[in-house]
Symmetry: C2
Subunit: 167 residues, 2 copies
């Protein structure tokens, strides 16, 4: 039950996007360079975020990705689901259907108490993730690490600038 590492990339990537000027797009390549990640694969992850409507993509020379809506309206669950898919972690293959006295008409995902117990845990997990917005996370980070926004902006400005300009 390992989560895709793309989730971590997406969370940190979106968080960084909150610190950029609104409407400013960042190419996936620069975002990857920020953490020294494989650019093409990070791009793939952000494609998923774009399909989910969390980020908006812009092609062309000054294109890239930007947040599609207010960070206040983006929950951590949104991001996780966009990358991992909405399916539940616990797979109920309706084992009881194959057991003795099974009724083909019954939906054992509902009737099976094992499935229900696992679903409760799944919901608790989702509730916790849905309760935290990207804006809230941003605020927490800024409170604990006040220099983070400026550091991020400076780093991106450096990445966007052709090398040699600063030296």
């Amino acid at each position: 039950m390992r989560m895709s590492e793309g989730v971590e990339w997406a969370l940190h990537g979106c968080l960084n996007l909150t610190w950029l000027p609104p409407g400013r797009a960042v190419p996936a390549a620069k975002l990857a360079e920020f953490y020294d990640l494989p650019a093409a694969y990070l791009n793939k992850q952000f494609q998923a975020l774009a399909r989910a409507g969390i980020v908006a993509s812009t092609p062309g020379k000054r294109g890239g990705f930007r947040l599609a809506r207010d960070p206040e309206r983006i929950t951590l669950l949104d991001i996780v689901v966009a990358i991992e898919g909405g399916g539940e972690a616990f797979r109920c293959d309706e084992l009881l259907r194959r057991g003795p006295g099974a009724d083909p008409g019954t939906d054992y995902r509902q009737a099976c108490l094992v499935s229900q117990a696992m679903r409760r845990a799944d919901l608790a997990w989702r509730r916790e993730l849905a309760a935290q917005t990207l804006a809230g996370l941003k605020a927490d980070v800024e409170r604990r690490y006040p220099a983070a926004p400026e550091n991020t902006r400076a780093r991106f400005a450096e990445l966007m600038t052709p090398e040699g300009t600063t030296a």
Copy 2:
């Protein structure tokens, strides 16, 4: 983030064990036949449960698996962890360590607020699973499906009996 299907098998398998006479061992092959599952693979899953101390294994002719301790002292989390491993679902690869201004001495699994938020969700999930014991689940099933224990016992008696004896 898909959970191994062995978890479902282990949960239903352990639940069935609670309905058998205490000390009575059931071979993995019979347990597999109960739900028409691949016997050798189910055996593999129960090996993991045995290593975790949840079930005890007995070799030999009338051997098999039985619960190693009182169902009251077995939580659903115990079973899930035995199959899936105790690692957290969210992988924190300490992305911040590769970012700008990283401190090699810092443990970013603790410092990173993204990691903390994911860990909170993970803990909520674990708390929910740890709150439910196998005995509690057994009681819930018996309350909703009173015939379940007897049906299970009868089915196992039939499986244990050499064919032709009943006819």
